[in-house]
Every structure is written in C-alpha cells, then in structure tokens.
C-alpha cells in the first residue's frame, strides 16, 4: 500500500513538473518589437529572430554540428546542368492551421519573391538568385537559379510561406498575415502592441518543450537587467556590455554567447571634397583612439583579459577565415602622424581648427539611434576625439526609419560620417557593402563608395569555386580597404544573452538564435 502511495506521489510530481514545463511561459526582452511577422518584410535582427520561431527555412546550418541541413526537405538533386535543384519535401509536415506543407508552398514562396508586385528589399535581392520554380508533384519542386552556384543549397536559406494564406504572389506588407502569420515553425506567433506571444506547435519535425514564449520590448537596458534579476523575465536576448557585470555577478543568471559576427564601423563620405583624399581618411583613422572609445562607451579597460570587444582592421571579425591577420589594428591615436597626413592632403590649421580651401571643416557625424543602448555615449566620444584632432563637429542620432531609407540606400549625402554596426551569419558576404552601386549590386553601400579594384576583388569572391579562392579574394579586399578606408573599422563586439538558470538546454544558434528552440526547457 505504502509503495503504491509513493509511486503515485512520484508520478504526480513528474506529471506536475511536465505540466508546469509545457504550460509555463518563458518571458524575454528583445531589442524592440518586430516590424512585421512576415519574413518577406524583415528589416532588423529582431525580425529575423522572431521569424525563426514561427517559420522554417528551407535549409539552415545546424547550430551544433554546423552542417547545412533541412527540416522540411527530405533530399535534393542537382538538375538542369547545375542551374536548378530538385527538392523532395518531407511528408507529414503541417502548417500551424493544419494544412499540409507541399512543393506548391516552396514554389509559391519563390514566385512571391520574383513577383514585382511584392514590395520587399529581401525579395528584390532574391530576384538576382532565382529565376523560377516548378511544381513537379505534390512533394517535388524544381527551383531554378539565374546562374550556377557552387553551393546551391546555401541560396535556399529563405523562409517558406503558405500558399493557401495568400490571394496572389504579390504579397503586401499590410496583409493580415503580417500580424497573424502561419508557419511550420515550432511556435505560432501573434503580435500585440507591446509584445509578441508564441504558442508551442507540435509537428512532425518540431517538438517544443516550452508551452509559451512571450517577447517584450526591452526599453531601458537598466530596467531590463533589474527585471531579470527579480525574475520578472527569464531572459534578455542582447545584454549591453555595461550591464554584463551585473548579470555575471548573479548565481541565478548565466551569460551566454550569441554568435552574431557584429562589427562596428564609421563610414566616411568620400563625396565630400575634404574627405576625397585618402590621406584625410587615414588621418581620421589615426585621430580615433579606439582604446579610449572602448573604455568609455563599452566599459572595457585597457589590458583587460577576455574582452568581449576586439579591435578590427577590416570588414570581418578576427575569428573569421576572411580576416587578414597581416593587417594591424590601430588601438591608439597618433595625432602627430595624423596632422602630417592632413597637411600633406592640403588642409590647413587655423586657430586649432582644420580648414579646407580656407573654409573651416565641421564634420557631421550620425549614428543609428538604438546603438546608443549598446555603446552609450559613443557618438559624443567620437566627437570629442575629432574635436581634439582639430575638427568641429555636429552629432546626430539617426532613426531606424531614416537609416533604412537614407543611409542604407546611399542617400545620406548630408552626413560626413556615420557610425553603425553590421551583423552577419555564417556566410559573411560583404559584397553589398562595398561594391559600386548598380544593377542591384552594392545594395548596402552607404556612401556609394566606388573603386574598380575593389569591385574586381568582390567579383572574384562571387565567382569563387572553392573556399580558398573566396578567402584569398577577401584577404586582398581587407588589405585594400585598410588602405582606402571607406570605413574606419572599430571593433567586433560579442553579443551576450542572459538567461535565468531555470532555463536549460538553451543552445543559441548563430545569427538566427532560436534554431534549436525545440531543446529548450524551462522549469520555474
């Protein structure tokens, strides 16, 4: 009798725990609310992370094995002499409303991207990659490319959309789908005014263990960390560096790395006459004291071990195979050398201020406004250093909308310099940043930088058939950019997430974050 009672008690504890796990809500802070739940209109990293919960990408890199794999494709074959791939969709996968996933959904997604009536920069980019898609059978789709890619599956990292949810392939941003999406991902999502709630959805290929997730807009980082410490939330996706010490000091929290391959930069507008000469840009590079900037805005003291913030000399993180280690970083300023370069470039100093053709130079520096949370006061610190270097300056914070509309499209001609951050996944393709803007290339070239030699190196990368060829091209690019300085490269900054220890198995995938969310467990 006693044995039965004990067994019953144990069982009820187990069941209760399971019930708690599946019925509990995991709350976390994100940097902001997503701009849209439709992956076709993703504009930020927040969007990418949210979409990873709700949708499946056709192919993705496994965060643990690093292999390119798929949850929705059973197998694939090359077709049409390498210009197409035949995909065999797995059977039994259902959309969150119960409809079956099929080849028609894959082709619908590609056709939507190709449809000129879909006003999406993401779709626009994909039009250079895909030329069409045919449904051969219920579970077989033939995806056609515009050219032969040596790694075609790398091009299939887009999210699959449900055909039955749209009236046509011309997808609109204000469609109801943008707020109440249907995916095949581990969670269904619904966006409210203050947050997004996600409900677990079991599927043939997903078995999430946490019943509900709740995303909330972060706001003040200090408030976020305090709330986390008080167990008001269970996680923060990106903890700004100044607050990481508070998180580390707590036994109830753990700081986890989030591989985002982010690096910070100051882009320089070479269309300005006084910035055309590369000696001026090199002088600006020497005026910046990165060690001082890092200490004051990130909080990393000189000589600190295991710093989350490493200086860089080119457009890659130091751990990247594309980073050219022969190019040194510039950790400290060298005003003497900077002044020599400025004088050689024809600038004159009057009353401690640099002049170009008799006119005093006032540098207009902008920075994407939300970055101030990660690196408080960075803009004014850069301004102070430029002032110490003899330049007047005006500082501007640029809204996200203006950043997307003007800066990224090369229309920020009013600024002399802009401070920003790029983030990359495992594929670090910097071509859009430095290629001459034309015909869809150089889509993210901030100040319309143009250099035929750089274009040639980028083309070399694009046409590389092996990883070695790609690496060589980018090594040369790094060297060239270090000389030309369209950007003053600052640092790579590790991104860290903070989670309470009650959250277990929380593997954070590079870039997309939630790829392995099925393994996450939460027992409050």
């Amino acid at each position: 009798m006693m044995q039965n009672h004990k067994l019953l008690l144990s069982l009820s504890v187990v069941v209760g725990t399971l019930a708690l796990s599946t019925g509990s809500t995991l709350n976390f802070y994100e940097e902001s609310l997503p701009s849209s739940m439709n992956p076709m209109f993703a504009q930020s990293m927040v969007d990418n992370r949210v979409h990873e919960l709700v949708f499946d990408r056709l192919y993705y890199f496994d965060p643990i094995t690093n292999e390119l794999t798929s949850r929705v494709v059973e197998r694939w074959e090359l077709a049409d002499g390498g210009k197409a791939v035949k995909l065999f969709v797995k059977k039994g996968i259902r959309w969150q409303d119960g409809e079956a996933l099929g080849a028609d959904d894959v082709c619908f997604t590609i056709n939507a991207m190709l449809d000129e009536g879909t006003p999406s920069p993401i779709a626009e980019k994909q039009r250079a990659v895909f030329s069409g898609c045919e449904v051969e059978s219920k579970d077989t789709a033939v995806v056609q490319f515009t050219q032969i890619f040596h790694n075609p599956l790398n091009q299939l990292g887009f999210y699959v959309l449900p055909e039955h949810k749209f009236e046509s392939t011309a997808i609109q941003p204000d469609d109801a789908f943008s707020n109440r999406p249907e995916g095949t991902g581990a969670y269904s999502g619904s966006m409210g005014r203050r947050g997004v709630t996600f409900g677990a959805k079991k599927n043939a290929h997903h078995e999430p263990r946490i019943g509900q997730l709740s995303l909330q807009e972060g706001g003040d980082p200090l408030v976020q960390v305090r709330t986390l410490l008080n167990n008001g939330v269970q996680g923060i996706v990106a903890v700004p560096p100044p607050y990481r010490a508070d998180v580390s000091a707590s036994d109830e929290l753990s700081l986890k790395s989030y591989d985002l391959r982010s690096w910070w930069f100051v882009a320089v507008n070479q269309d300005k006459p006084y910035l055309k000469d590369k000696r001026v840009r090199q002088a600006l590079n020497l005026i910046l004291d990165r060690t001082d900037l890092r200490e004051k805005s990130i909080g990393v003291k000189p000589g600190e071990q295991n710093s989350p913030c490493e200086f860089i000399s080119g457009p890659f993180v130091q751990t990247s195979p594309y980073y050219n280690r022969s190019i040194d970083v510039q950790p400290r300023s060298d005003l003497e050398q900077a002044f020599v370069l400025l004088e050689q470039a024809g600038l004159t100093q009057t009353g401690g201020r640099w002049h170009y053709k008799g006119q005093p130079i006032t540098l207009r520096i902008g920075m994407k406004a939300p970055l101030n949370n990660e690196a408080p006061d960075l803009l004014s610190q850069i301004g102070n250093q430029l002032s110490a270097g003899g330049f007047d300056r005006q500082e501007f914070r640029i809204t996200v909308d203006d950043w997307n509309r003007q800066v990224l499209t090369g229309e920020a001609e009013d600024y002399d310099m802009v401070v920003g951050k790029w983030s990359f996944g495992l594929v670090e393709d910097v071509n859009p940043l430095f290629h001459t803007r034309n015909g869809g290339r150089g889509a993210l070239n901030i100040f319309n930088y143009t250099n035929p030699q750089v274009d040639a190196l980028l083309a070399q990368y694009q046409s590389a058939k092996t990883d070695t060829q790609a690496r060589d091209a980018y090594h040369k690019l790094h060297e060239k950019l270090d000389d030309e300085l369209p950007y003053l490269f600052l640092w790579k900054l590790d991104t860290k997430s903070a989670w309470r220890t009650e959250v277990r198995g929380n593997t954070i995938a590079p870039y997309y974050y939630w790829t392995a969310v099925d393994n996450w467990k939460y027992s409050p």
């Binding site: 003040d220 408030v223 305090r226 200490e295 004051k296 949370n373 005006q394 500082e395 914070r397 009013d414």
Partner: protein, 271 residues
C-alpha cells in the same frame, strides 16, 4: 506682500532659468571616468554624470534650449490675448464669431500630435524648440483670447470704449492704455508666463519621450543636453544607480520655472 516683492522674485527666478543658457558650452566637457557619479559635494556645484561630466553643463545647455523659444511663445500668446481683448471691444459680432470658430477649431486639434509632426518636419540640423514653441503658442492662443475677451466683456466691451471716447480720450489711448495697459495686463501677462512655463515643460516632456524611445531629440541638436536628460538620469536612481543628485537638480530647475510663473502672476494680479 508687495507687488514689487513678487516682481523681484519672479524676475530673479526667471533670470536664473534663462540667462545661464547664454553661457552654455557648445559641447559637454570630455569624460573623466574617475569622477563618475560624483555628488555635488565631491564635484560642485551639482555633481557629475556617469562619464564624470559636470551636471552644471546639462543645466546650462538645457537653459539655452528653452530660453528664447519659450520667451517667444509667451510673447505670441500675449499678442493674441491682446487681439482677443481688443476684438471684444469692437462690438463686431461677426469678427467675434469668426475668431471664436477659428479658436474652437484650433483648440480641438490634438496639440501633442501637431507639435510632434511639426518637430519631425524639421531637418536634423535645424532641430530646435522654436517651431514647437510657436505651434504650441498658436494652439494655446484661443484660450488666451477667450479669457481676454471675457475680461473685456466684463468691462463693457464697446460701451466702455464709447464711454471713454465721450471723455475725450483718443481710440489709440483707450485701446492701448485703458484696455490693454490697465485691464488686460493681468490676464495677458499671466497667460504669457503660463505659456512660457508650458513650453519649458513641453520641451522636457518631448525630450524625455525621445530618450525613452531612443529617438533623436525633437527639440535640440543631439550634441546638446536638455533638462530631460537630468530627469532621465534621476529616474535611474530608482533602479539603484547613484543619480539622486541629477533628479534633485532636474526637479529644482522645474520648480524654479514654476516659481517664476507664480511670482509674475502675483505681481500682475488686478488690484
């Protein structure tokens, strides 16, 4: 207490708020991390921020941001209040009806949104409090006109003018001295001061909202600080950051503006 006492106190308070702005530095001092979060005792007169920069500079820059625009807004409202009072003395029902209708329309506009849109219209390099202050003044003018016309109506409106004309005074003297100078003065001055105060508080509110939403400032260049930065810093004191001195300074400045308004109101009250 005598009127002169209130006048002196009001002017002193206003002077403390507005004049220092003319001596504000263009940019904040370079950082000195060794002085971070210093109290007023350690870094007089007002202590420092998280970068060791004196809060005095915040106060000075904030004063520069609000000084002239708030005065201009006050003058705009005073002007309209005078117009409203004078219209009530003309005896023209049509003019009164038109003014009233226009005032109702303006008064019904959601002020914060109009002000925000005006703020967003300005190019980043031209961001200042002026357009916001003038917009606010225009939106507040109908209320001032109403009150001034009520005062004029209590005088007797057109009949008051007629009576004084019968005494041999010129229209110019009647309107400017008897009506505006002697009778409308209290309401006009009070409305002007209240608008000045409202514009200062509006600047603080808009700057605070911009800080909260990580937006560029609506009212000043991003290299300048506003009094809202002090309040925002002070808010962090509730989260155990040692910034109580910032909160005290921010609230102290707000109180100074309120004091100036009260004193001027008392100084110009009707006998």
């Amino acid at each position: 207490m005598s009127r002169w006492y209130w006048t002196g106190l009001g002017l002193a308070a206003m002077g403390c708020v507005l004049i220092p702005g003319f001596f504000a530095p263009e940019h904040l001092s370079p950082s000195d991390l060794s002085m971070a979060y210093s109290s007023p005792g350690a870094a007089p007169p007002f202590g420092t921020d998280s970068m060791g920069r004196p809060l005095l500079e915040y106060a000075l820059q904030g004063s520069r941001v609000i000084a002239l625009p708030s005065i201009v807004a006050g003058l705009v409202v005073m002007f309209f209040a005078v117009i409203g009072g004078l219209i009530a003395c003309t005896g023209s029902h049509r003019l009164e009806a038109i003014t009233r209708a226009f005032g109702e329309l303006l008064g019904a506009l959601p002020r914060m949104v109009v002000v925000l849109i005006v703020a967003l219209l300005m190019p980043p390099e031209d961001r200042s409090l002026y357009p916001i202050a003038i917009s606010w003044a225009l939106l507040a003018a109908p209320g001032a006109m109403d009150e001034a016309s009520a005062v004029a109506a209590r005088l007797g409106g057109a009949r008051f003018v007629e009576a004084l004309r019968a005494h041999g005074f010129s229209r110019f003297r009647i309107y400017l001295w008897h009506i505006v100078g002697l009778n409308l003065r209290p309401v006009v001055a009070r409305q002007g001061m209240e608008t000045l105060m409202q514009v200062v508080f509006l600047e603080i509110a808009l700057s605070y909202l911009a800080l909260q939403d990580t937006q560029p400032s609506f009212t000043h260049g991003d290299s300048e600080m506003s009094w809202a930065d002090l309040l925002y810093m002070g808010y962090q004191a509730f989260l155990e950051v040692p910034t109580w001195h910032a909160m005290q300074l921010g609230i102290g400045l707000v109180a100074l503006v309120a004091l100036a308004t009260v004193c001027v109101g008392r100084a110009v009250r009707p006998r």
